[in-house]
């Protein structure tokens, strides 16, 4: 490589494509065509941007072994699997950009399949709860500038969204919150003492699976009906809950963040509904907003794109020729556990790791197509593996932050691989070609009949 190419350049205001915080203050040093150093990112973001071992070429499984093929061969094979399937499932979509998500929805509609996102094993219940109850929302910027009470319920940003506190919530100094952490109160509710809980002014440890009851007790206190609350709820003495409710009512601007502690435990979407009701009722006393702590950097994006393209946020079944949404029936885990799908395409995600084992066993029974920059356990089950460029590092695109703000991801270096959007376009063209040849093959018979 020449000296010119090895020159280091510095990109500022780079977005991090790891978690839903979508931090946009990273400084990346690039040497030649390689990311050399990442500043201002947390450990999760730095690890992502610095890069890991990649899938190098497209592969198709032949006699049990993955063998290298060209991109075109991989597109054709993927198209063949999807066209031949009665009800393919096209799953993932959280760690890619909106442009690719849009193509994914188009492809799903073309092949009459089901589109589902990783939200269904994450904040799916939040989306259902929000649909039922509505949400009093705000941007993270408003929270930074105004919130004097931060509540973290069933979430652990210290490990899952490490810069959340520094940029948006507990520790950041804002316009009306110039003192940062000193001027704010932090309340943490969880079933274990997390790292986040250690930074709290008040930590309430509740029994596993008691979120619904504890939220109901708080609603009683907020409504002034504390005398009906039992002495202990979810293992927590009544007085402690009274204090927590008081703390919330006394805030000038409260922000309630919740995580998978609520959505993954007993009650799931009903827990979320109850939390949203509590926040709605608090608004009779003060200003309170609520937000799910979205995990993957663009899991909010697939919800948005799917909603504007189909009317539904996830678990969308096109097999009837029109969009149909019924999680519990059309979600990825449901169709796989019923063995109601005969091919799965996985884009930017790893269901083999993230689904319950029994469901993974069913996934292994059907042909799997994987589009991803990295090898992961899903690769071990895949028939077709198509490597793609990393969005936000090797190609640009749009992503939605957890508060619904659309931000533009930058391209920092070149990639030998096409973007997810490029790969999906390739498969769409192959599907058209295949359908065209099928139609041509049928046409003479029809003419003679």
């Amino acid at each position: 490589m020449s000296g010119q190419e090895m020159k280091t350049r510095v990109e500022e205001d780079v977005l991090c494509s790891f978690c839903g915080c979508l931090c946009d203050d990273l400084v990346v040093e690039i040497e030649g065509n390689k990311v050399k150093n990442v500043r201002h990112a947390c450990r999760l973001g730095a690890s992502k941007l610095m890069g890991h071992e990649r899938i190098r070429t497209p592969m198709i499984r032949k006699n049990g072994k993955l063998e290298e093929v060209s991109y075109q061969e991989a597109y054709d094979r993927a198209a063949q699997i999807l066209v031949n399937a009665k009800r393919p499932l096209l799953y993932g979509w959280a760690s890619t950009v909106c442009e690719a998500q849009k193509k994914g929805i188009l492809l799903t509609e073309m092949v009459g399949g089901i589109l589902d996102s990783t939200a269904t094993v994450c904040h799916g219940p939040s989306i259902l709860g929000i649909e039922e109850r509505g949400l009093s929302g705000a941007t993270l910027g408003q929270i930074k500038n105004r919130a004097d009470l931060i509540v973290f319920w069933g979430c652990n940003p210290a490990e899952a969204h490490p810069k959340h506190g520094l940029r948006y919530s507990t520790n950041v100094c804002g316009f009306f919150t110039p003192e940062g952490r000193k001027g704010r109160k932090v309340l943490v509710v969880d079933v274990r003492q997390t790292r986040t809980a250690k930074n709290a002014d008040k930590f309430i440890m509740i029994a596993t699976g008691s979120d619904f009851e504890v939220l109901s007790a708080l609603r009683m206190f907020v409504a002034g009906k504390g005398e009906f609350v039992p002495e202990k709820v979810g293992g927590v003495p009544k007085e402690e809950l009274f204090e927590a409710a008081d703390m919330m009512k006394a805030a000038k601007f409260g922000a309630f963040f919740f995580g998978l502690g609520i959505t993954h435990s007993r009650g799931r979407s009903k827990n979320v509904g109850n939390a949203l009701a509590l926040i709605a009722e608090l608004n009779a006393h003060t200003k309170f907003v609520v937000m799910p702590m979205r995990g993957h950097y663009n899991v909010a994006g697939i919800g948005q794109v799917a909603a504007w393209e189909t009317g539904f946020p996830m678990s969308i079944d096109f097999s009837r020729g029109t969009a149909y949404f019924n999680p519990g029936e059309t979600a990825a885990c449901d169709v796989l556990s019923r063995e109601d799908t005969d091919a799965v395409m996985v884009v930017a995600s790893d269901p083999a790791s993230n689904f319950p084992r029994g469901i993974v066993e069913n996934l292994a029974k059907v042909p799997v197509i994987q589009i991803d920059p990295y090898e992961n356990p899903t690769t071990l089950l895949a028939e077709v593996v198509i490597p793609s460029a990393i969005a936000g590092v090797e190609c640009e695109g749009t992503a939605y932050r957890m508060d619904g703000l659309a931000l533009r991801m930058k391209k920092l270096v070149n990639s030998p691989h096409p973007s997810d959007e490029g790969v999906l376009n390739g498969i769409i063209e192959s599907v058209k070609k295949l359908r065209g040849t099928e139609a041509e093959a049928k046409a003479p018979n029809e003419a003679s009949a």
Partner: protein, 123 residues
């Protein structure tokens, strides 16, 4: 049993085929009391069983955990214990699963071995 993100698991989660991911995601955290009661010191592993499956993990103490509760990093090991039912909302119950624990000398499976029994998982 509850499962969730840890910093180490997150940092390796796009490099899942390496040993560091196995090390980060195959840990089972227990309260100090439970760790002692199960006699897990001396590098022994712990066998965790639920109604849906079994898995061997490396035990660690987490002082933030109450007795009777274990925490695992999300991933294939923890998911060996999770059932498929979504309760009508599309999401399996990943947290609040009843499990039994016992010390074991069985080794922790690495990520590839976790999938070798499944079709096609050969490379």
């Amino acid at each position: 049993m509850i499962s969730g993100r840890t910093l180490a698991q997150g940092a390796w989660c796009e490099s899942k085929m390496c040993d560091d991911f196995t090390k980060a995601a195959s840990l089972c955290f227990l309260s100090e009391g439970d760790f002692k009661a199960l006699n897990l010191s001396g590098g022994r592993n712990v066998l965790v069983k639920s109604a849906y499956g079994r898995v061997v993990m490396a035990p660690r103490i987490d002082k933030g955990l109450p007795p009777g509760m274990i925490f695992m990093a999300m991933g294939p090991w923890a998911n060996s214990l999770v059932g498929p039912d979504t309760g009508g909302c599309g999401t399996p119950q990943f947290k609040g699963i009843e499990v039994d624990l016992e010390p074991t000398d069985e080794p922790v499976m690495d990520v590839r071995s976790m999938f070798t029994n499944l079709r096609g998982a050969k490379t």
